[in-house]
């Protein structure tokens, strides 16, 4: 979720940096839920980067005497605080390793499909006409295949590696962003401020970059966080079918799938990685809704006006002459 940990800077690049950054942090503090989400996502990012080193051998080498160890006891060291799996490997260690695998699939997929889908969508929506038609029909073709089925077919033909999973999932997710970006951009290009920019001779690329992108971005980020969950689940399904992440590598989805048979007896094998998925996606969603408010100048007062005063005075009008 590197995407959401750094909320985009103020759209004005020439604004002085220091006070702007302090402002962002203060606005984050003003929304406790978003602040906690940001901390959780930072932790996830940290584990994704350093998890393998921290977990060490415990994630790979099993101790059969610790097989199916129940969680929440420190008797066998911190690595076994979340219990052990069937082969006696530390569940915490495996979760940490899985974080890296999961993130190295999900983040690139979301980023690639977001960047490609958004740029093509904004371009198509701005220019309308034939360019729009071609882009939208291609998106329709991609959407008309069930994306998981397409992934299954492609991954059966090519060897299931992380790179090919990323590629196929990214392609199937592009239309989601493309449609959103096109719809918003098509509406925005009729607005007067876009006309105004045209009358100053601003070229179309610059209009898309300066006037359309900042307005479309919050919507796209919201779509991206929803899609983030979808991609994570899609990756789990592929792993479950044996054409996704290959053992001994492990991902959250794969762990859920592998623990399914023991759900009645050793619930923690599935539930804990499932919880990791839920917590991460909920955090991403909360942070995304904060980003939407924080990037909208008309809504930003919700994060800057103290809560108490707001209740007393009602919505303040920031009109000044």
């Amino acid at each position: 979720m590197t995407l959401l940990e750094n909320p985009p800077e103020a759209p004005a690049p020439e604004a002085p940096d220091r006070p702007a950054r302090a402002n962002w942090f203060r606005m984050l503090l003003a929304d406790p839920a978003a602040f906690v989400s940001a901390l959780i996502l930072l932790l996830v990012a940290f584990v994704a980067v350093f998890g393998r080193q921290l977990a060490g051998d415990s994630a790979i080498k099993g101790d059969l005497s610790l097989s199916r160890l129940a969680p929440f006891s420190l008797d066998h060291g911190w690595q076994y605080v979340l219990g052990g799996d069937l082969l006696g490997r530390s569940l915490l260690g495996r979760l940490m390793v899985a974080t890296q695998t999961t993130m190295s699939v999900v983040v690139p997929v979301v980023l690639i499909s977001l960047v490609i889908g958004a740029s093509v969508g904004m371009w198509a929506g701005y220019h309308r006409g034939r360019r729009e038609t071609v882009a939208m029909r291609i998106a329709d073709v991609i959407l008309s295949f069930p994306s998981l089925l397409m992934a299954v077919v492609v991954l059966y033909i090519f060897s299931p590696s992380i790179a090919s999973i990323i590629a196929i999932l990214a392609i199937t997710r592009i239309p989601v962003y493309l449609r959103t970006a096109r719809a918003e951009s098509a509406e925005l290009q009729t607005r007067l401020f876009v006309d105004a920019a045209r009358t100053f001779g601003t070229p179309s690329g610059a209009i898309i970059r300066r006037h359309i992108f900042p307005i479309v971005l919050p919507t796209l980020l919201t779509v991206a966080t929803v899609d983030f969950c979808y991609v994570m689940l899609a990756e789990s399904s592929l792993s479950f079918l044996g054409i996704g992440v290959q053992p001994p590598d492990v991902s959250w989805g794969l762990m859920v799938a592998q623990g399914r048979d023991q759900l009645r007896t050793q619930w923690w094998l599935s539930v804990l990685p499932g919880l990791a998925i839920v917590i991460t996606t909920v955090s991403a969603n909360l942070l995304a809704s904060w980003v939407r408010i924080a990037t909208d100048p008309g809504q930003r007062w919700r994060l800057t006006v103290p809560r108490r005063r707001r209740r007393a005075a009602g919505p303040t009008v920031l009109e000044t002459t």
Binding site: A196, T199, F200, E319
Partner: protein, 324 residues
């Protein structure tokens, strides 16, 4: 006479709709001189805004220019390539819109937007463009520009927004400035300030200003020349004093008569009866025939041409008759 800023001749805009093709602007010609204000006067729907859109190249897809030329600096804006047009837009020709709130991007700081012309046309680095933006804001009379430069459009009042828009339009000191009803959305005191600002900038930059308005008082106050439009055509032009003193077209006369002057409270205000003709069913002959008090047979049969006589032009068969 001063140097010519823009010469529009025979401008014709056609609308293609499911009901058929119709002319919204029909052979409009006028000349705007540097340092002077030309007013395009007319009621709503007469084609004055469409004329402006055609000149700056912002016509809706259903409208297209089918004839005419717009000469600025020896170049025909309607014929140049799109790239050349982009280069000319800004330093040569620019426009002020009526609705300042929607003409400013709501999520960009005003400083960023004011800096845009410099960034695009002069490839100025961000810092210097920002300094220029502050200078511009001060120039158009926005108090404390250093702190307001980081505000967003919704944090300004209507008058201030209009000032920002004017600032953006004159950023590259254009030769021609089109002001499309710049004061219609403002209250009267602010209106006067904005018009004074436009006049001041016109003198400083020696711009030709084309003021599009339906407000007779604004025309009388600000313009040097006036072109009265009716149903997509110019029906009368001339120096403002002369036209207002001695209107030769019955429509102009009707407009002037509808201004309440020394009218008793409770007395009926005079108005022009009827409404402009449907653009899809313009009758042959004079478009004003249905509302004209002086209408005669010739008006129903023949369309009057715009005839120039001693600096004034009028499109009426009865021009001599109405001139007395």
């Amino acid at each position: 006479m001063t140097a010519i800023g823009m010469e529009v001749s025979g401008l014709t805009v056609e609308l293609t709709t499911p009901r058929g093709t119709t002319r919204a602007v029909d052979g409009v010609s006028f000349t705007a001189h540097r340092g002077r204000t030309l007013a395009l006067l007319g009621e709503s729907g007469c084609g004055k805004s469409m004329t402006a859109q055609a000149i700056v190249g912002l016509l809706e897809p259903i409208a297209s220019v089918t004839a005419g030329s717009v000469q600025v600096d020896g170049e025909d804006l309607l014929k140049v390539s799109r790239k050349r047009r982009r280069q000319l837009a800004g330093p040569t020709l620019s426009i002020v819109f009526q609705d300042a709130l929607t003409a400013l991007n709501p999520v960009l700081k005003v400083g960023t937007q004011l800096a845009e012309p410099y960034r695009i046309h002069q490839r100025m680095p961000a810092k210097r463009a920002r300094a220029k933006a502050i200078e511009l804001m001060r120039h158009v009379g926005i108090p404390e520009p250093e702190s307001r430069v980081d505000s967003y459009p919704h944090q300004f009042s209507g008058g201030m927004r209009q000032r920002l828009l004017i600032a953006m339009a004159v950023a590259l000191s254009p030769k021609v400035l089109i002001a499309d009803e710049p004061t219609t959305a403002l209250d009267v005191t602010v209106q006067a300030q904005i018009l004074a600002l436009l006049a001041q900038l016109r003198k400083e930059h020696d711009m030709a200003v084309v003021l599009i308005t339906h407000d007779l008082a604004v025309v009388a106050e600000e313009a040097d020349t006036v072109a009265v439009m009716y149903s997509g055509r110019i029906v009368e032009t001339g120096p403002v004093d002369e036209v207002f003193e001695d209107p030769r077209h019955p429509y102009t006369r009707g407009l002037l008569d509808s201004v309440p002057v020394e009218t008793e409270r409770g007395a009926d205000l005079s108005s022009i009866p009827g409404a402009p003709p449907d653009l899809f069913a313009i009758p042959p002959g004079c478009p004003y025939q249905a509302r004209c008090p002086l209408v005669q047979d010739v008006c129903r049969a023949e369309r009057p041409a715009l005839e120039t006589r001693a600096g004034r032009a009028v499109a009426c068969h009865l021009a001599e008759g109405t001139a007395q």
